[in-house]
């Protein structure tokens, strides 16, 4: 349940990868040696480790189309735990690696069960711990938003040695690195009082505030084809920020559904939730759900950490997608004829923060003449990117339906963007939308249902919103790049 070594690799655009930080844990290595006996494989030095890992991840020799050691079809890298084949000195396993540009984080967990024959990953607790740790480290170094802040990265890297002293001084993982480690403004507590949770870095002083936000995301694949079923799904997250006094304050948040709402499924909760009712967990998206399933209210009693956190997440099977689209392309002599219609479902609130449809065209010359009319909204044409952006604004018209018709010639002299997926009539529209103060599943948090067991009356703020992600409407006159039958995204 410990790590033998940890590496942070900087690999910008796949070139000049270098190890920016590495740490070996000699006492764990000592144990690894005695546990593995004759099958012990020592950790290679940084430079050879880097080469081996890059080969394993398929990142080495990017200018060569085929390298036997990297591309052999027999070999299936068992991500997230890969093996490094050392030249004649055995195999280093399991190396966990997590990539998020520009970093690759890797660690080597200790195998504390006999290593011959190779045990399954599922029997090694250190593997899941390593994954948790690396994911935490990744969030610490790169942030969760995904936009890179290079200066911040450098300064956070500099704090690693002292940070590791707290979270993993000797290779045994104690905690994930936290973005802020204030020098504990803790209040002296008298002996025998409630113990402070180890995951709570300090105590809040002041007015109690609880902020609960429900964000739902809808994904869809619409084919407009009689033989192919359209698919959509919805998942939601409930994020909390609680400023409540006390060492271990009790808060309860209750999620409710409208009268005929379909049950929330696949509920996952944050470890700070103190107890769960088994009925909350039973509904599952992979089950044939029966009508009698529990449909709330869903109570989550917990003691909050100081920082914002994701209290729970769920999925939901809503009967209809928010926007049903149809997309038809026709290749004519010199041009491409388009016909699009989008229909907003009446149950969805017609008040968007934004709503836009992107129509990219790949593997063609650059656009020449664009002769396209829209019934509502406005159209932006980006000829360099071969992209039409149809901005639908804040509202659909009364009819709840909008259309786009016209034709495009691709008469430009230079080649537009290419994509191996979207050849010929395989093309899509991608929708981007955000609707404040609504959810598709109808799930909501009633302000009055948030209970805080403390003396002062807390301020409670709740919010909801609906977002789209991977919302595709495929051209129904061309082959969609997915196989038939049931498909999960």
């Amino acid at each position: 349940m410990s790590l033998r070594a940890l590496w942070i690799i900087y690999n910008e655009k796949g070139e000049n990868a270098s190890i920016r930080f590495s740490r070996r844990f000699c006492t764990v290595e000592h144990r690894a040696k005695s546990l593995a006996g004759s099958s012990y494989v020592a950790v290679p030095e940084d430079s050879s480790f880097l080469q081996l890992l890059l080969t394993e991840l398929g990142l080495s020799g990017s200018h060569k189309s085929y390298v036997a050691a990297r591309d052999d079809c027999l070999y299936r890298p068992r991500s997230p735990a890969v093996e490094l084949r050392l030249d004649g000195k055995g195999t280093l396993w399991p190396v966990l690696a997590l990539s998020q540009a520009p970093l690759i984080l890797a660690c080597l967990p200790l195998v504390d069960i006999p290593s011959e024959p190779r045990p399954p990953l599922a029997n090694l607790l250190s593997v899941s711990q390593g994954l948790t740790f690396l994911a935490g480290l990744q969030t610490f170094l790169l942030g969760s938003a995904g936009n890179l802040d290079s200066e911040g990265l450098v300064s956070r890297m500099a704090t690693l040695p002292s940070l590791l002293l707290q979270v993993c001084p000797l290779g045994t993982l104690l905690d994930t690195p936290q973005a802020v480690t204030p020098t504990a403004p803790t209040v002296p507590t008298s002996a025998g009082a409630q113990k402070q949770p180890a995951w709570k870095t300090g105590l809040h002083r002041g007015r109690a505030t609880v902020n609960v936000a429900v964000v739902e995301t809808v994904r869809s694949m619409q084919y407009g084809s009689p033989t192919r079923q359209d698919l959509w799904d919805v998942y939601g997250t409930v994020t909390c920020k609680c400023e409540v006094e006390g060492v271990l304050p009790n808060v309860t948040v209750t999620l409710s559904l409208p009268h005929n709402g379909s049950p929330l499924q696949d509920i996952l909760v944050h470890p700070c939730v103190t107890s769960l009712d088994s009925s909350i967990l039973t509904a599952s998206s992979v089950d044939n759900a029966d009508g009698s399933a529990f449909s709330g209210p869903y109570k989550f009693p917990f003691s909050p950490p100081l920082e914002p956190f994701r209290l729970c997440s769920y999925t939901s099977q809503v009967p209809v997608p928010p926007i049903l689209g149809s997309y038809q392309l026709k290749e004519e002599e010199n041009n491409l004829r388009l016909s699009v219609s989008l229909k907003l479902h009446e149950s969805v609130k017609n008040s968007f923060e934004y709503c836009a449809a992107h129509l990219p065209f790949f593997n063609r010359n650059q656009m020449g003449v664009v002769d396209v009319k829209v019934s509502s909204g406005q159209l932006d044409v980006s000829k360099e990117k071969n992209l039409l952006v149809w901005v639908l604004g804040q509202k659909f018209p009364k009819s709840h339906e909008v259309t786009l018709d016209g034709k495009i010639t691709f008469s430009g002299s230079s080649q537009g963007p290419s994509d191996p997926l979207c050849t010929g009539l395989t093309a899509y529209i991608k929708l981007y939308l955000k609707v404040p103060d609504t959810t598709l599943s109808g799930c909501f948090v009633d302000q009055h249902s948030v209970q805080v067991y403390s003396s002062a009356k807390p301020r409670i703020i709740t919010s909801r919103e609906l977002l789209s992600k991977e919302y595709y409407i495929w051209n129904s006159t061309g082959p969609a790049p997915v196989s038939s039958g049931q498909m999960m995204i």
Binding site: R70, K200, S285, P420
Partner: protein
């Protein structure tokens, strides 16, 4: 001029072996320790200085003595460090733990390690920071983790302190209680494990253990402990005890009466919620082990936590739940729970909010699902749980939007699902599943056709291999795949290596599968039927590569290939260009055709092609080779031809070919095998040190006549006239490694090459040994080293030799180590010098070294040694260097000459019960080495006191 430590430390950590080749571990260690003691160095630098010790303690303190010494030094640094440098003090504790564990001092319960344990316990108990001193708290947390690590490395180390640790955990109310929980539960687990190993241990022992009342059986237990350590029992204790239903966990029979343990476990479980997820997972893991070892505690004690764990979004907490299931199966999880857990895993394997690595891990957990009633007992094989129905698995169908690892993992899972189905019923369901998988493969193929990235190409071929490995018998699909691959190849000829790799792997691992031959036949057809005039040069060379592979298949008719070759060589544009690579490609195909069983029927067209090449091709080299082949073809019978060339063909069937320089010429591959040097992966023989024979005076300054006058002056005069540098000679025996490989039993013309790892010695000449047979006595070889600095070193050795089958091999030979004492030489003075004259020289040198001369230093080493032991020591180690008479009582003078021109003088005397080694040297850098050497040789006799 302080050395730039930041740079040096980072150079060390980047490559310790490279760094130490320029110095040696002892010297580097002593430099580090000196700098750590230096008051002028800043604490920022000192933290940095500790990092080599934290990360590579095993390398720097290889022996118990070195570890003990270093630990004592570090503890004194700790004692002197002001408390405000908390970070540094924490790092010091970490370094100390590393040093003591890695040098095996901790497992040997050495004095320093016991002192260190006391120090750690003292820090851990020091709750003086109640009023919020963060620094002190940080130190306490580190101390707890050090204690935990010491216990993890030396199980049982703290088992006598259980009661104390339990008390500390209960008292602590700030975040630190987590550290105490981790410590207590580990110590408890190890202590219970030890009890299980003791015959007759039961409830009473357990109770005593928890109550801290262990004196009654302490002695007995310690003796057992030592015995178990002696036979390396440590690793069994350290291994995880979470085993499946097939594993055997040692158990402690307490009967139902183990209230005390139960109450400890309950209170730990109650507090589990307060720990970070990582520590919670570790705690549960230890608790599972404990409950598994003590049958008196029912697994249901864990039930209260289950719901919380099953709903979690933390991968390590769900994982530990699976481990619980693995350990306790139906005594904790009902059939309903099992079905729920599996469904949960399927949900998690495709949950939109989880990261790809987590999802892949969950998928792996599905394939190794700990079932309550497992059917198979294969522990490491992937197997589908019985409850995973195709309907349930359909949630994990691959799509083209998956990343490649996910895609392949899902494909593998689906293949397993439908493979199982195939065996059970020939229903419509099965057909649909397989059809879906194939359709998916086709979708990937279309992306590759559309110009997918390298990643997609590789993924597609892996998916194709996976598909074939499960379903190659399903004719309908495998034939279709073959056709589609041929079409793909014509569109993208640069995929030739991928396709050939797929051919090779299916041939190799799917015995009795004719698919690959079929594909090759299809490729041959596709290539030879396509119109020739649209081909570009790169296309053509890919085609030739494929045809060369096709020509290796005896079952494929080669007529059409020949037709294609003929068309290629007669095409005027190509012929005139005389491209060497192209010609070489054509010759490559021809060479394989020469080996083809149907050569007789190919004779005339092949001869035509070769003749055409020989006469008309625009490159002389190609012409020459074509002429050679033509001559072989027309004059040598097929049997002889294949005998000449067969060896290489057999090689071609193996794995990935190793690129050799001479292999660039494809058509000469037949000769490559015998001409190239083969690489042996492991050592074939080794050099072991031969017993030193009476050392003749080798080299050294010429022995001038003694001309009287001052002994020192006369002595020095020799060096002025010295021609060659003094040398040391070491003898080694060359022996086979055990067990000898049958192929290498008789070796000839062995040439040993030595490469130095540092600058301290002159380069070594290669050494030749005529032969080495397992049956005959081992040859002895002498290695003459010319030191530039008399330091220990490691020499890399490699060898080139010929095996009895005539092949030439290159093999590594285990490193040889030149230790410090190897460099000792007796005083190089004329043999005529009398004892008195030598003593005079000793005295003069001693006085000079005690003076101010640069580089000189004196030092003192003491140890407890009886008179007899000292005599034995002198006899064994210093006899050739002894100046004074061995029977002399008051003291002994030893003079070590270390080439090229360093001296080390020892005055050894007995003082009461200790022996003093007074040292003087003209090269202070030798001090750490001599110190280590004395420690080692005196350690063997008794414990040293320095």
């Amino acid at each position: 001029m302080a050395p730039n430590w930041t740079e040096r430390i980072s150079a060390f950590c980047r490559s310790p072996s490279g760094f130490l080749s320029g110095t040696n571990p002892e010297a580097f260690l002593s430099e580090l320790l000196r700098e750590l003691r230096d008051d002028r160095a800043s604490y920022g630098v000192k933290v940095l200085l500790l990092s080599p010790l934290c990360e590579y303690a095993g390398l720097l303190c290889a022996t118990g003595c070195a570890g003990e010494e270093t630990a004592l030094d570090l503890m004194s640094v700790f004692a002197q460090c002001p408390t405000r440098w908390a970070q540094f003090r924490c790092h010091l504790l970490v370094a100390l733990t590393g040093v003591l564990v890695c040098s095996s001092c901790a497992s040997g319960r050495s004095r320093a390690s016991l002192d260190f344990l006391d120090l750690l316990l003292q820090i851990a108990q020091d709750a003086g920071d109640l009023h919020g001193d963060g620094a002190q708290r940080c130190l306490r947390a580190t101390a707890c983790d050090c204690l935990r690590e010491m216990e993890a490395s030396c199980p049982g180390l703290l088992s006598q302190r259980l009661e104390l640790l339990a008390g500390l955990r209960q008292q602590e109310s700030c975040r630190l209680h987590q550290a105490y929980v981790g410590l207590q539960v580990l110590v408890l687990r190890n202590a219970v494990y030890q009890l299980t190993q003791e015959a007759g241990a039961g409830a009473a022992h357990l109770k005593a253990l928890l109550g801290g009342n262990t004196s009654a059986w302490e002695a007995e237990q310690e003796a057992e402990q030592e015995a178990s350590q002696a036979d390396g029992g440590d690793s069994a204790v350290q291994s995880s005890l979470v085993l499946g239903p097939m594993g055997r966990v040692p158990s402690l029979h307490t009967g139902p009466d183990c209230k005390e343990l139960r109450s400890v476990l309950s209170s730990l479980l109650e507090e589990s919620y307060l720990l970070t997820p990582l520590c919670q997972a570790a705690l549960f893991h230890r608790l599972i082990e404990l409950v598994a070892m003590v049958p008196g505690i029912p697994p249901s004690i864990l039930r209260a936590q289950l719901l919380r764990l099953l709903g979690t979004n933390e991968v390590c907490l769900l994982h530990v739940t699976l481990l619980m299931k693995c350990a306790f199966t139906d005594s904790l999880f009902s059939a309903e729970d099992e079905a729920f857990l599996l469904k949960r895993l399927v949900v998690l394997s495709q949950h939109p909010l989880l990261s790809a690595p987590d999802k892949l891990f969950y998928m792996d957990c599905i394939l190794h699902f700990p079932e309550n009633r497992p059917i198979g007992c294969g522990d490491s094989d992937e197997a589908l749980p019985v409850l995973l129905t195709p309907q349930l698995a359909s949630a994990l169908l691959p799509t083209v939007f998956n990343d490649s690892a996910t895609l392949l993992a899902r494909l593998n899972l689906q293949a397993l699902v439908y493979l199982e189905e195939e065996g059970e019923e020939e229903g419509e369901e099965e057909g649909r599943g397989l059809a879906y998988i194939y359709e998916h493969l086709t979708a990937l193929l279309h992306i590759v056709e559309g110009g997918g990235s390298r990643d997609i190409v590789v993924t597609f071929f892996r998916a194709a291999y996976l598909f074939l490995s499960y379903f190659h018998r399903v004719e309908q699909y495998s034939a279709l795949l073959s056709q589609q691959l041929c079409r793909l190849y014509l569109l993208h000829t640069q995929l030739a290596p991928n396709i050939l790799n797929l051919v090779q792997q299916t041939l190799h691992s799917l015995a009795g599968c004719s698919w690959a031959v079929g594909l090759l036949r299809g490729l041959q057809g596709a290539i030879t039927e396509a119109p020739l005039d649209q081909l570009t040069l790169p296309d053509l060379s890919c085609h030739l590569r494929v045809l060369a592979r096709v020509a290796e298949e005896a079952k494929i008719s080669q007529r059409s290939s020949l037709g294609f070759l003929s068309a290629v060589v007669t095409r005027s544009s190509l012929r005139a260009s005389g491209d060497w690579r192209l010609g070489n490609g054509v010759l490559g195909v021809c060479r394989r055709l020469l080996l083809h069983p149907s050569l007789d029927s190919l004779l005339i067209p092949l001869a035509d092609i070769l003749l055409h090449l020989a006469c008309n091709y625009g490159d002389t080299d190609i012409q020459d080779h074509a002429r050679l082949y033509y001559a072989l073809l027309t004059t040598v019978s097929w049997e002889k031809l294949s005998a000449v060339l067969a060896q290489s063909a057999a090689e071609g069937g193996g794995q990935v070919k190793r690129p050799t320089l001479s292999g660039v010429m494809a058509e000469s591959e037949g000769l490559v095998h015998t001409l190239s040097v083969h690489r042996a992966e492991t050592a074939v023989f080794q050099l072991s040190e031969a017993r030193p024979q009476p050392q003749p005076q080798t080299g050294g300054p010429p022995l001038a006549q003694d001309e009287g006058g001052g002994a020192l002056e006369a002595y020095r005069a020799q060096f002025r006239e010295a021609g060659s540098a003094p040398q040391i000679t070491l003898q080694y025996r060359l022996t086979h490694t055990e067990p000898p490989h049958p192929r290498f039993e008789q070796l000839f013309s062995i040439r040993l090459h030595f490469s130095l790892t540092d600058q301290n010695y002159e380069q070594l000449q290669d050494v030749s040994v005529p032969c080495l047979f397992t049956q005959r006595p081992a040859p002895v070889l002498r290695l003459t080293l010319t030191p530039r600095q008399p330091y220990p070193t490691t020499i890399h050795v490699s060898a080139v030799f010929t095996s009895s089958d005539g092949l030439t091999w290159h093999a590594p030979v285990p490193d040889i180590h030149v230790s410090f004492q190897h460099t000792f030489l007796p005083l190089p003075v004329p043999p005529a010098w009398s004892r008195a004259r030598r003593e005079e020289l000793f005295q003069e040198l001693w006085e000079e070294m005690c003076g101010e001369a640069s580089g000189c230093a004196v030092s003192l080493f003491c140890c407890q040694l009886g008179g007899a032991a000292l005599k034995a020591l002198l006899q064994e180690h210093f006899l050739p260097f002894l100046l004074s008479h061995p029977s002399q009582e008051d003291g002994f003078w030893v003079l070590l000459f270390l080439p090229p021109r360093s001296h080390l003088l020892l005055k050894i005397s007995c003082e009461e019960d200790a022996v003093q080694f007074n040292m003087a040297t003209d090269n202070w850098q030798l001090l750490p080495h001599i110190n280590a050497y004395l420690l080692r040789i005196t350690c063997a006799q008794d414990l040293p006191v320095t």
